[in-house]
Amino acid sequence: MIRARDLGEHLPFQTDGDCEIEADYAVVGSGAGGAAAALTLARAGYRVALCESGAWREPADYPSSFFGALRDLCADWGTLFSRGRSLIPVLQGNCVGGTTVINSAIMVRLPGDVLAEWQELGLGDVFGEGAFDRVQDEIEEELGVEPMAGPQLGTSGELMLAALRKLKMEGHAMRRAAPGCEGRGQCLQGCSAGRKSSLNLQWVPETLSRGGALLSEARVERVRIKDGRALGVSGHFRRVGARREQPRKGSRFVIHTKRGVLLAASSTGTAPLLQRSGYRHAALGRNFMAQPGAGILGVYPDAVHMERGTTQGVASMQLRESHGVKLESLSIPLEILAARVAGAGVGHADLLERYPHMAMWAAAVRAEARGTIRPSPLGPSAPPTLRYEPTRGDTQRLRAGILELARLHFAAGAQQVLPGVHGLPTRLGPDQLDLLAAAPLDNRCWTWVLTHLFGGCVMGADKRHAVVGTDLCVRGVDALHVVDASCLPTTLGVNPQLTIMSVARLVAERLANETTNRSTG
């Protein structure tokens, strides 16, 4: 492990006067995309300043409770909701390491069909198959990706795997960046066992050890653009988790860059940041995409204890091509169960009591819906305004996925399932699946959650549709690049972090090579 005194500069929340830094590159956001790009540039010998609006947290600081996780690790306490007919909560990390700190560490390689779609969009030169395979191999190796096995899967995972086999469906133990996972079921709270290869423990410390600087609790408010070139970024330190009597706003900081600015503030952060910086493009903030999901609980005669074992251990791609749906085991903490189980009062309490006998499995939809993301009128520190609504087709796909999961629960021996769909009975038995098959397609009846987000500044060859060109620059601005989920031109139908890390690394490698070639040429 890298020790603090060996690291480059880390500037946490500051209040003593303005802070100015010179760097070759500034990277905004230290999540999957930002940390990957920062490290690649640092390894190439550049001085990188990494700005992160969240705080630095060590595993010993990670909270145990879900409330603590929302407070200490999540963006805006999870208060960002997509606005449409239905209100859908959006969950994202806000700490050094970004969402990789709170995610399930599942690593899925970019599917070939998606790469083919990207190549059709004019991105073949940048993302050739060989290049993608190489960086994915490297990343898997560095982060210690391995398949989950044995007790790591927990009873819930084992039941799902057995049911998939019984119904002759594709199913597998997930590959995760959590070597030696102890199966504590605390991925959402950051894995205090320190087993998850989240990027605050991996690539950010290495970036610092290579002379990089990290500004934490440092929210970038503007990209400084002059005469068609990005010159750096500026913002303010803002204390995370401040009590009411504590000052929230700290010093101003400015980073002057010699070579470029890379934006990786996530699909909800990057487009609003560009908009606030005065950049204009017809597609900026549009084409916001997601893989929204929902879960279904099975109630079993014997204890399952879904909280024992990894948070997510088993998946099925059976419905990916036919329905654009991925099925996964997903244990939820007891605190969340209350919100997830329908009803309130006495009947609700009777169900909550059955928590040890429950297993939750979820369906994530490769949704066709497109939304918009805009900066909040209340200022840079307020959550952005997200307009997004799954289409009827998306809800149909979700329903198909949930129906399949219900079948799997019954195949695994569940006595009942709790679909959590308004308009259906709270509990369904095996002979009531027809009710689920005909469940309402009104989004407001379903308990969606948004965790896999894409777009807002997509890249591609089409000038009107893509904010980022095939030269990997934000159109019309030199030395400005986007390296997070917001530049991905399509959804993936699988968990996105390995793809985001790979895209960021490929873009950063290109920048490093270009500048090296230019200076040697």
Binding site: M1, R3, A4, R5, D6, L7, H10, P12, F13, A55, W56, R57, E58, A60, D61, P63, S64, S65, F66, F67, G68, R71, D72, D76, W77, T79, L87, S216, E217, R239, V240, G241, A242, R243, R244, Q246, H305, E307, P333, L334, E335, I336, L337, A338, A339, A342, G343, A344, G345, V346, G347, H348, A349, D350, L352, E353, Y355, P356, P383, R444
Partner: protein, 146 residues
């Protein structure tokens, strides 16, 4: 924003008590347990969340004409009518009322589900207290492992 008045917190605690009544084997969320949690919640959480919780509790208290046809606030109803009202709110056809209940269930769930007594009644491992730190620095070499 000023701290919420004591009566607002007490009202919210009583609402949560109605939503989480408990069973013979598993404790519910009594107001004595809910009150300190709500005080902490309101002290630390962002304004939007605090307002959402206030609005949801008020919606719950005032929605009685829509659920049980009563014209008095929910917390003045007889216990069995309050129980009917609570259940009706959660499954009501008005989406925003359902969402208000969801907000209350979520906030109450944070407290109830982390409660040691609740967890041990279900043989679920307890939580260590959360170490709240406002942006701590990286570990020093003495603190971090090899």
């Amino acid at each position: 924003m000023k701290p919420p008045a004591g009566y607002l917190l007490r009202m919210e605690a009583r609402v949560l008590e109605a939503i989480f009544p408990g069973t013979t084997d598993v404790p519910g969320l009594c107001r004595e347990r809910a009150l300190p949690f709500l005080a902490m919640f309101h002290d630390q959480s962002p304004r939007t969340l605090r307002l959402a919780l206030h609005a949801s509790a008020i919606a719950f208290v005032m929605a009685t004409p829509l659920t049980v046809g009563a014209l008095r606030p929910a917390l003045l109803l007889a216990p069995e009518v309050l129980a009917r009202h609570t259940e009706a709110c959660a499954g009501h056809r008005v989406y925003l009322l359902r969402q208000a209940l969801l907000m209350l269930k979520t906030a109450g769930g944070f407290c109830w589900g982390a409660d040691q007594a609740v967890r041990s009644s279900m043989s679920v491992a307890g939580y260590k207290p959360d170490p709240l730190k406002a942006g701590c620095a990286p570990a020093t070499s003495e603190e971090s492992g090899p």
